[in-house]
Every structure is written in C-alpha cells, then in structure tokens.
Symmetry: C2
Subunit: 142 residues, 2 copies
Amino acid sequence: MTDPVRVPARFHHVGFVVSSIEQAVNGFAQALGLRWQAEVFADPLQRVRVTFLGEPDTPQIELVEPGGTDSPVWAFLAKGGGLHHVCYETDDLDAELRHQRSTRGIIVRSPVPAVAFGGRRIAWVYTRQRLLVEYLERRLAP
Amino acid sequence: MTDPVRVPARFHHVGFVVSSIEQAVNGFAQALGLRWQAEVFADPLQRVRVTFLGEPDTPQIELVEPGGTDSPVWAFLAKGGGLHHVCYETDDLDAELRHQRSTRGIIVRSPVPAVAFGGRRIAWVYTRQRLLVEYLERRLAP
C-alpha cells in the first residue's frame, strides 16, 4: 500500500562518480555553467568525499569521490564512474522508506546523519527498476 | 572563451535507459511517487522511444528505450542500462554549443527537432568530464 497523504519529494541532485574531485570540479563547473559551492565534505560513514555544483535551491550536480577501496562507489568507479544516483529531499524519511518497502525497493542503507547536509539524515534505496535513489530528510532530526 | 552573457540553463530531466517502457513505467512512477505523463514518443531521428515521469515544471525522469539495435542507447542497455544523461533547457542552443566547444566538450549530435518536445531542437554534448548532456532549446525554432 502506498501512503495516501504522501507529499511528493523534491528533486535535490544527481550524483556523478569521479576519481578525483580536485581534478574534475573546475572543468565540470565551467562546462555546465554551474557555480562550484567550493566546500568538499569527507563523510566517514559513507566513505566518500562529495562536493556540489549549482545553486542550493535548484537541482544540483554532486561529484562523488571514493574515500578508499572500501567505499561503496569504488566498484562503480572501477567500471568507469559517471552518473550514479538521484537524490530527492523528503519531509518524512521514515514514511518514504515505508513506501519504498511497499513497492519492493531495497533499502540499501538505513538512515544515517550526513556530513554533507549538516547532519540531516539520508538513506539509500535501490528501486526494483534498478535506480539508486538517495533520500535526504528536509529537517534535522530532533 | 566562455560567453559572458550566458543565461544559466535550467535542469529539465535525467534520462534512464530501460529495455521496455511498458514494463518499467508503472513501477517507476509508483516507486518515485511521480505521475506518468502517459504519452510515449517514438523519435526516428534519435532511434529511441521516450516517456516522462513527473510534472512538466519540475525536474523529470525520462525513460528511454532503444528503437532497435541501431539505436544510440543500444550498447548502453546491453551493459545494463540505467542512468544515462542529464538534460538542460536553454534559451539559446547555438550559444550553448559554442560554449561547450570552448570547454572542449564533444558535440555528439548537432541540433535536430525532437518529437518528444513538439519539434523543439535538442543537441547532445559529451563533456570532457564524460557527462552526457542533452540540451533542449526553450522555444520552437522559427
């Protein structure tokens, strides 16, 4: 069953895996005409480094660099990297995950606070159609 | 040289390659909580079938199905399909392509009218950072 009162999630960013943020970011920003937000976040829980291009209130491009060979994006990079996931911002992460389970999506990673979003919680879902989706909770969990 | 008066392009959609729109679309729409726009466009120039999920004024998901083995997405599907490109809507497609050439992007496909966008022109660019970008002109060419 889907949740009848579910508020649509807002498209937040698309994630693109690179071997080196430092090597890729200026060319990326220039090619797409997007402003680099200049901060690089190292997330020990996700074992990645990430940075964002574009204005915060518009769909952004996230560059994702593996934090090491144990990073969840390491294998993806080894196959060439590139477009990796989409991220939606949601008012209610737990309700979103209940919905995903109801549509037989796989919860790849349960909610954890994310360094790149000031501690707001994220979770990862692999839909039955094989789209990797990151869900970002709009507000900081109390 | 970049164009100093360049207006930022607007994120329009992200394209996801599937083997069958008919088999994938309802599950996709349900999982993401996005409305399927219900129309499937067959584009003989692009040799693909495409359809859109989400509201027209928000970032959409485009499902792309190869129109045959000669389709530009056939090889991508053979490797598993999935996230394929991002699309930006631009006021001036020709200026955008001049900019892309100046940043050493490869113009994979020069502007052609697209069935899925009422004949508005699209072009394809592969950036130096290996992101495939579709540019969609905002207005119908005169």
